[in-house]
């Protein structure tokens, strides 16, 4: 099933589109994935996938194990360079950015933040420090790239106070304020997951990408997570998440993209996806093909 509302326009250049005044596409789309293909040697992990994530929405990417979700994610967040296709970020009132052409560290600066399937915090640094590292780019500019700060110029202390304030906000939003001075590595698992989200949010992204945020959480923690994600959406950040916990996906997603064997097989509202025979077939396995392949 192809997207019902707005098929992404692959051929058109974002710039010309803006010049011609097609503003509607810009307002609605935050991320545009066009014909994305990723091959590792002979293996095609993602094959000509196209979809669009809308601004201010939660888009979930689901699919059976090995469907290419994490590969897709790694392409979007700059950890892999795609073999073909394009990924564009459309921020409000800004020119679109070709994410697939940016070096890894520029992706976050362009406004895409991510979390990791296996949590990647800075375990020996405190929760607060983790959140300040996330504001590195902003703070670094305020220090005059290190030189001014050593000399004690006055602009930095103010920037740092603001950064700490932002960190405090996210710590309290993730219910971690009382653990601010504890090393991240010593936090319980659920708290680490929340801290990673808080850290990603401290980069002040336009799009937050979450790789299985509910993995390993108990039902109560999953509920809290769902609430947190809705809150983040409420503040105007768009979300893209990979998730296996269908309870969470169906409850909070505005849109669900389904991948199977590297191909897009569905892109629709949660309810529609649930009833899609292709999706059901992908999850239950068409014949014995999957089992054979995995065995």
């Amino acid at each position: 099933m192809m997207p019902a509302d707005e098929p992404p326009r692959v051929e058109e250049d974002g710039l010309t589109r803006k010049m011609t005044g097609d503003r509607r596409v810009h307002r609605e789309m935050i991320l545009e994935v066009a014909n994305l293909t990723m091959r590792f040697g002979g293996l095609t992990a993602v094959s000509a996938v196209s979809f669009a994530a809308s601004r201010g929405e939660i888009t979930a990417v689901i699919g059976p194990n090995g469907a290419g979700k994490t590969t897709l994610f790694n392409c979007i967040t700059g950890f892999y360079r795609p073999t073909g296709g394009a990924i564009r970020l459309h921020r409000a009132n800004e020119l679109p950015v070709d994410l697939h052409l940016l070096p890894g560290h520029r992706i976050a600066r362009a406004g895409v933040a991510r979390t990791f399937q296996n949590i990647r915090l800075f375990p020996g640094m405190t929760a607060l420090e983790n959140l300040l590292v996330a504001q590195h780019v902003k703070l670094m500019a305020a220090t005059g790239f290190g030189i001014g700060a050593v000399l004690g110029l006055s602009r930095y202390p103010k920037a740092e106070r603001q950064a700490v304030e932002l960190a405090r906000q996210w710590l309290s939003a993730t219910n971690l304020l009382d653990r601010a001075d504890d090393p991240a590595g010593a936090l319980p698992y659920g708290a680490q997951r929340r801290l990673e989200i808080a850290r990603a949010m401290c980069t002040e992204p336009a799009l937050l990408c979450l790789d299985e945020p509910a993995a390993g959480l108990n039902p109560r923690e999953s509920d809290e997570l769902a609430r947190l994600l809705l809150e983040i959406r409420g503040q105007g950040t768009s979300l893209l998440l990979i998730e296996h916990d269908m309870g969470v996906v169906m409850r909070i997603s505005d849109r669900v993209v389904v991948l199977d064997h590297g191909k897009l097989i569905a892109d629709a509202a949660p309810a529609a996806v649930q009833g899609d025979p292709k999706v059901i077939a992908a999850y239950l396995g068409e014949g014995d093909e999957d089992e054979e392949a995995e065995a």
């Binding site: 560290h105 976050a108 420090e129 700060a149 601010a180």
Partner: protein, 427 residues
Amino acid sequence: MTPAQAIRDAAIAAAVAFGLFVMLVGLRTDVGPEGGLILRQRWGQVALLCGIVFAGRLAITTLAGRRALQPSTAPGPWTARLQRAGKLLAPALLAVALVLPAIPGIGRYELDIGILVLTYIMLGWGLNIVVGLAGLLDLGYVAFYAIGAYSYALLAQYFGLSFWICLPLAGILAAFWGVLLGFPVLRLRGDYLAIVTLAFGEIIRVVLLNWTELTNGPNGISGIPRPSFFGLPFSMAGGEGTFAGFFGIEPSPSHRVIFLYYVIFALALLTNWVTLRLRRQPLGRAWEALREDEIACRALGINITTTKLTAFALGAMFGGFAGAFFATRQAFISPESFTFIESAIILAIVVLGGLGSQVGVAIAALVMIGGFEVFRGLDEWRMLVFGGAMVVIMVLRPRGLVGTRTPSIALGEKRAIGGDLVGEGRG
């Protein structure tokens, strides 16, 4: 362990010791009178060594139990005390260092050791930026020390520039080389980076050794000018334009030593000050984050290459400063002073002190270098003891003397972070 088991255990240890010592200690090769090699037998010493191993092993297993030899990253009995005293210890050390030349009984010899220890403290602090904070394993740090030393020596020799002009230049040149080396290799990870930095250190040394026209090769450069006191030279002759003459005091050779002592003291403090300051800044935090998790750093928009490069260059710069100081203090340098073993000693100071800990590095330098000088009487045995001490300290305290990390910022109270949580970098 029962006594019988302990004796059996000690006997095995003694048997192994016999296997180790029988050839190399039992039979000594010497060049005989005709130029050929002759063997001398020393079975008594083999027996003595085996006896020592037997007794030592037995004593350790029976008195302390096998547990005593297990490594531990848990805070040692002194760590807690050190932390309590920590607020006092650092200022106390600083105060002693400050007034050292004035303490009665401290002569020229003691001051020379003080200068040496401070040089290594400075080198340790410089390398600490690279290894301790940024988590980059640099086995060729001595190269930057050498570049600093030769920069000053050559600039002084060919252009007649004074120490105070050359000091910043030496640092800049070393940092420049740090960037030059770092740029292509910093994307290498772990041990690959280690071997490349080691190779770089050796390349610099071999070039210094063989580029005879410029560096005078193995003979080194002598007659390197001494630093002046704001333009006033130290001279035994006294008189108008000299330090002693200007202040109207009796000329004494110790003036220069005291002056050099304070120069390196100030340089070391500068290193420390910059490091401590940067640690509380975004750049320093990015270094530590890089040590903890490079991939997460990338996802947060941190430019890994430039961040590593700044750590590498800054570390190199302090190495360069220390090198220029070394050249002016010795008045003579040769490639012999810049061998791999120097890099190894500096790295050992950093690791033994506790990665990232400034006080730890200072204490480690004091213990290692100071202790090394104290045992001067042991001659060739000294290095043997030195190496053995490195092994023993590392086995007992893998995380170094101060294995904890102090957060750079806190909402409430800063609490030390246990060493087992702190990463040590992969690059």
